[in-house]
């Protein structure tokens, strides 16, 4: 196997809060490979978001180390981008959809290349027709797609997603899940996908990591051997799917 893009070695984050210090995550050993889809599940309060912010370079590990393509992580790394859960706060409300998508690249690329990338990214998420609208004129699912397009326009090696579909209805969610898998196949981007929805984690993931405890640590990592491409109806009915679902519920501590 090729060298991993991400490699965490007993990484941990301790935050100082109200004068005291609190370990949020500890002893994280994790790797992410090219074009891999890694789901991370865990109950709330186990540091899922902290883990993702650490991978995205918004928080520095206070113990252990995180390497991105061999380089020690010290800040937001090149080629890694976070997609946040709260799309309404994460989008620039005063910019059109196209200008939002251009935001990450417009200062680095010539105008023509930038326009091409914006068009391509909007095309990938199916929003070409809404390029001139403002975010508030779109539905929640479309706004989240704008945020995904903004990340895609960077042509990232890794997309880190923090419960991106948690605020969306079930049908929109299913559509976007399939869109992500298609994007992964088309662009060879790796995904680290945080969710509290075990079925979503299994459906999307090549592997599912379970975060548990306080401070959170990785309880187990499950290889998901479901056939690709996945299908919302047939995949979710497979006995293997149900078995993974069962195992993961047990690993998290349900039942």
């Amino acid at each position: 196997m090729l060298d991993p893009i991400f490699e965490c070695r007993s990484a941990g984050v301790t935050l100082s809060l109200n004068g005291g210090t609190r370990p949020i995550i500890t002893d994280i050993d994790l790797s992410v490979h090219e074009a891999e889809f890694l789901s991370i599940v865990g109950p709330s309060g186990t540091g899922k978001t902290t883990l993702l912010r650490m991978l995205g370079g918004l928080l520095c590990p206070t113990s252990g180390e995180v390497r991105v393509k061999g380089e020690l992580l010290t800040g937001p790394p090149d080629g890694v981008v976070i997609v946040f859960q709260d799309y309404a706060n994460a989008l620039l409300q005063w910019r059109t959809v196209a200008a939002n998508v251009a935001f990450g690249i417009e200062r680095k690329l010539p105008a023509r290349e930038c326009a091409e990338r914006v068009e391509a990214a909007l095309d990938l998420v199916g929003l070409s027709k809404r390029a001139d609208d403002y975010p508030w004129q779109l539905s929640g699912g479309m706004q989240q797609r704008v945020q995904i397009a903004r990340a895609l326009a960077l042509r990232p090696a890794v997309m880190l997603m923090d419960e991106p579909f948690a605020a969306l209805d079930a049908m929109t969610k299913a559509g976007l899940q399939d869109e992500l898998l298609r994007l992964r196949d088309q662009t060879r981007t790796s995904f680290v996908f945080i969710t509290h929805d075990i079925e979503e984690a299994v459906y999307l993931g090549d592997r599912v990591a379970v975060l548990r405890g306080s401070p959170g640590r990785i309880e187990s990592i499950v290889e998901i051997g479901l056939p690709s491409p996945r299908d919302q109806i047939s995949t979710r009915q497979m006995p293997e799917f149900l078995a993974y679902r069962y195992d993961l519920h047990r690993a998290i501590g349900h039942g």
Binding site: R53, P76, V80, V81, I82, Q93, W94, F103, G104
Partner: protein, 258 residues
């Protein structure tokens, strides 16, 4: 901001009532129901305004008031936005500065009129002292709040898209705070007009405010009322103008602001 976006709509019922009130006033004076010596009918006031306009006095006074107001407002904007940004960005500055602001802010601007007179006599400077001080607060407070209330997620977005700290301020925090700053600027402009008129009444003998006093002392109530009406119209025109300008410059900024 109900009229944001499309062309301003005319509030016909409101206008009808206003015209009706004017007619009642006119009739009351004509038929002797209200018989005060210094209470002219609207038609007489209108004739007085026309005379002032013909003689060119009104335009001179209007220009003086507009220039004083623009000067005072501009100075207040520069000071208010600068200090507001400092306070918004720096919790340290807030810790030290807010107490002073809370002490100074409730002092009515007119209380500084004697100070202005003492320093600058009956002059434009006095007018500016009286105008600038109270006009600073709305834009300063709104600028500070606008910056301090930007959702922290926008900074996360800037960092994950690998913007520099300066770029984050310039491309994310300032634009996000702009609607709030614009609201503060509008409130300040309305206040600047009020304070300029006050300053011209008590301080600098010039402009529309002085016109009101001058005609009162000259026992020309129709001209006094004409000046008052012009001041009112100026206020309406300024607010409409600023609103139209804001909507034209930043279509997104007038949506959902309060």
């Amino acid at each position: 901001m109900a009229s944001a976006g499309g062309p301003a709509r005319v509030n016909w019922p409101g206008l009808v009532l206003f015209v009706l009130l004017l007619l009642v006033w006119e009739a009351a004076v004509r038929f002797g129901l209200m018989a005060f010596e210094f209470f002219p009918a609207p038609s007489v006031i209108a004739a007085g305004a026309a005379r002032l306009a013909r003689e060119g006095i009104l335009l001179d006074d209007l220009i003086h008031t507009l220039i004083s107001m623009a000067l005072g407002w501009t100075i207040a904007m520069v000071i208010g936005v600068s200090i507001g940004l400092l306070l918004g960005f720096s919790p340290f500055a807030r810790t030290f500065g807010l107490a002073s602001i809370e002490v100074l802010r409730p002092i009515p601007g007119i209380a500084f009129a004697p100070l202005g007179l003492l320093l600058f006599g009956f002059s434009l400077q006095t007018e500016l002292v009286i105008t600038v001080l109270p006009t600073i607060w709305p834009v300063m407070i709104n600028t500070m709040g606008g910056i301090a209330n930007v959702h922290p997620r926008l900074t996360d977005v800037g960092r994950t898209l690998r913007l520099s700290p300066v770029e984050i301020v310039r491309h994310l925090l300032l634009p996000a705070a702009l609607p709030s700053i614009v609201v503060g600027a509008r409130i300040s402009l309305g206040l600047a007009l009020v304070m300029v008129i006050v300053a011209e009444i008590v301080g600098n003998p010039a402009g529309l405010g002085y016109g009101i006093v001058r005609e009162q002392q000259a026992m020309n109530p129709e001209l006094m009322f004409a000046y008052i009406a012009v001041v009112g119209c100026l206020g309406i025109a300024l607010n409409a103008g600023v609103l139209a300008l804001t909507t034209a410059l930043w279509p997104a900024s007038t949506r959902g602001t309060s």
